[in-house]
C-alpha cells in the first residue's frame, strides 16, 4: 500500500467513541440505562482494539498487509479503554464502595477475570515505548505475549456477564480464538514437512 495514514490519526479517531459516549452520557442521551450503556461501550471498544491489535500479525503473514506501525497505538488504545471501563465501574457504578468492589472481585468470576485481564495489560502499557524495547531485548517479545491471555480473558469476561448465549460476545470470543489459533497453526504450515526437507537433500 502506498499511502498509510499517520499513527497520530489512529489515536485521534480511536478516542472519538470515548468522547462521544461521555458527552452523550452527561447530556443523558444514552437511553434508559445510560450508566450501563457507557460501561459496556467502553469495555467493548477495549476488546475491539485488542482484537485489532491481534489481527496485525495474521494480516501481514497471510495477506502481506503490513500495518505493524499501528500495533502499539491499537494496544495502548485497548489499555486506555480498559482503564475508562474500569473507572466507570469503580466510580459511577459502585460509587467507590470498597467493600462491594472487593466482594465483587473475589466472589464473581466474571469480575475476577476482567480484573485479571486488566492487570495483564498494565505491564504491556508500561513497556510500550522504544526505551523498554531496547532495554528488555528479547524479553520484551516474551512479555508482550501476555496480550494473548489478556484477550482471551477479556472475551470470556464479556461472554460471562450476559444471560443465555446472545451472539455478540460469542463472536468476539470466536475472533480472539481464531487469531490466537492462527499463531499456533501458521508456523507449522509454514515449516516444510520432513519429506520436503529430505527432498531438498538434507
Amino acid at each position: 500500500m502506498r499511502f498509510l495514514p499517520p499513527v497520530w490519526l489512529v489515536y485521534a479517531l480511536g478516542f472519538i467513541p470515548a468522547v462521544a459516549y461521555f458527552a452523550l452520557g452527561v447530556m443523558d442521551r444514552l437511553g434508559a440505562d445510560p450508566q450501563n450503556v457507557l460501561e459496556r461501550a467502553l469495555g467493548l471498544w477495549a476488546l475491539r482494539f485488542l482484537v485489532a491489535g491481534l489481527a496485525i500479525t495474521p494480516l501481514r503473514r497471510s495477506l502481506g498487509l503490513n500495518l505493524l506501525r499501528y500495533r502499539r497505538s491499537l494496544g495502548l488504545l485497548a489499555f486506555w479503554y480498559a482503564c475508562l471501563h474500569l473507572s466507570v465501574y469503580l466510580v459511577l457504578d459502585q460509587g467507590l464502595d470498597g467493600a462491594a468492589i472487593w466482594a465483587d472481585i473475589v466472589k464473581r468470576p466474571y469480575i475476577t477475570i476482567g480484573m485479571a485481564a486488566f492487570a495483564l495489560l498494565v505491564p504491556l502499557a508500561l513497556t510500550s515505548n522504544a526505551f523498554s524495547i531496547r532495554r528488555l531485548g528479547p524479553g520484551w517479545t516474551r512479555l508482550h505475549r501476555l496480550v494473548y491471555p489478556a484477550a482471551l480473558l477479556a472475551a470470556a469476561h464479556f461472554v460471562m456477564l450476559v444471560k443465555a448465549w446472545p451472539p455478540e460476545p460469542l463472536v468476539y470470543l470466536g475472533l480472539v480464538v481464531l487469531l490466537l489459533a492462527y499463531r499456533v497453526v501458521e508456523p507449522r504450515l509454514r515449516r516444510p514437512s520432513p519429506r520436503a526437507r529430505a527432498a531438498q537433500g538434507r
Binding site: 452527561v26 434508559a32 440505562d33
Partner: protein, 314 residues
C-alpha cells in the same frame, strides 16, 4: 354488606354491557388511530380505562419511553432495544388462551371473553429485573385469581404453568440460528402465589393497551419476583400437580430457580443482587439503591414462604 337494598337505577336504564364495551372499543380504536397518526408508533395502542388500586405504589413512575423501549423479550432478540424494534410484526388479534390440565372448565377461551368477566385496575408496581435494574410501571390488569376461580381447579392442581406464543414467522428471536431459549417460554407459579391479590394478568400500561414489546395482548405481573417470571404474550395456562420446569431453569438450573423471589441476600451466582439501578433516574451519575426483600412487598407476601429456606428455594 347491605342485603335487599333497592337499586337506584332501573335495570332498563343501564346501558347493556355489550353496547358499553363496543362504545369503549370504538373510542379506543379511534383514539388508537389518532395516536398512531400523530406518533407514528405504538401500533394498535388504545386507551384503556382502569380503576385506581390501593395496592399501587406512590413512587415516581419510570418514563413510558423507557418502559416501552428498554426491556427483555427474547422472542424478539436478546438486546434491550430489540423488542421495540422487532415486535411490531406480532399479530395479537384474534387471541385465545388455552386453559387445560387439572380443571373442571378446560378450553380455548377468546381473550375478549376472558376480559368480559373482569374489571380492570391500574396497579403501579415496582419491577426488579434479575440483571440488577428496576422500574416503576403503571400496569393495567386484573387479578389472576379470577381466571383461576373461573377455571375451577381440581384439588390436585398445585401449580400453574404458563406458555408464551411460539410463532417464528412473527417472532424474530425464535428464528435465531443459535437457539436463545428452549421455546416456548415457560413460567410457573404455585397455586397460592397465583391466588395472591398482588398477582395480575396485565393487558395494558400507562393508560393504554400493552405495546407488543411489553407482552401484548396479555402477560403476567408478579411484583415481588424477578421480572423474568412475568411471562409475556400468554397462550396457555395449565393447571398441574408437579412444579413446572421453567425456561430459565432449563437454561441454567444453578442460576435460576422456580421461585425467583427478589432477595438481596441471595446473589445470582455471577453478580450481586444487593443493589439495583432505577431506570430513568438521572443519567450516568445515577446512584444504585438498596434492593428490598421481596422487592418491597415482604409485608404482603413473606408469609407465603414461612418455614422455607430461601437459599435453597431461590
Amino acid at each position: 354488606m347491605l342485603i335487599g337494598r333497592k337499586a337506584d337505577i332501573a335495570p332498563s336504564e343501564i346501558t347493556p354491557r355489550a353496547v358499553w364495551l363496543d362504545r369503549r372499543r370504538f373510542l379506543g380504536a379511534a383514539g388508537g388511530l389518532g395516536a398512531g397518526l400523530i406518533l407514528g408508533g405504538e401500533a394498535g395502542a388504545a386507551p384503556l380505562q382502569a380503576a385506581a388500586s390501593p395496592l399501587s405504589t406512590g413512587e415516581p413512575k419510570t418514563p413510558k419511553e423507557d418502559v416501552t423501549s428498554y426491556n427483555n423479550f427474547y422472542e424478539f432478540g436478546t438486546g434491550k432495544s430489540d423488542p421495540k424494534a422487532n415486535a411490531g410484526s406480532l399479530t395479537t388479534s384474534p387471541w385465545s388462551i388455552r386453559i387445560d390440565g387439572l380443571v373442571n372448565k378446560p378450553g380455548d377461551y377468546a381473550l375478549e371473553d376472558i376480559l368480559k368477566g373482569v374489571s380492570l385496575e391500574e396497579r403501579i408496581y415496582r419491577m426488579r429485573c434479575v440483571e440488577g435494574w428496576s422500574m416503576v410501571i403503571p400496569w393495567i390488569g386484573f387479578p389472576l385469581s379470577e381466571i383461576v376461580r373461573r377455571a375451577e381447579p381440581q384439588g390436585s392442581a398445585r401449580y400453574l404453568r404458563f406458555e408464551t406464543l411460539v410463532r417464528p414467522a412473527e417472532m424474530s428471536g425464535q428464528r435465531s440460528i443459535l437457539p436463545i431459549l428452549d421455546w416456548p417460554y415457560v413460567e410457573g407459579l404455585r397455586m397460592d402465589e397465583a391466588m395472591h391479590p398482588l398477582t395480575i394478568l396485565a393487558t395494558g400500561l400507562y393508560g393504554e393497551t400493552l405495546p407488543n414489546q411489553n407482552g401484548a395482548p396479555v402477560r403476567l405481573v408478579v411484583p415481588w419476583k424477578y421480572g423474568f417470571k412475568g411471562v409475556k404474550s400468554i397462550v396457555r395456562i395449565s393447571f398441574v400437580e408437579a412444579e413446572p420446569r421453567t425456561s430459565w431453569m432449563t437454561q441454567s438450573p444453578r442460576e435460576y430457580g422456580f421461585y425467583a423471589n427478589v432477595n438481596p441476600a441471595v446473589d445470582h451466582p455471577r453478580w450481586s443482587q444487593k443493589t439495583e439501578r432505577r431506570i430513568g433516574e438521572g443519567g450516568i451519575f445515577v446512584k444504585r439503591r438498596e434492593t428490598l426483600p421481596f422487592n418491597g412487598y415482604a409485608d404482603q407476601v413473606a408469609g407465603l414462604y414461612s418455614g422455607m429456606d430461601l437459599r435453597t428455594f431461590f
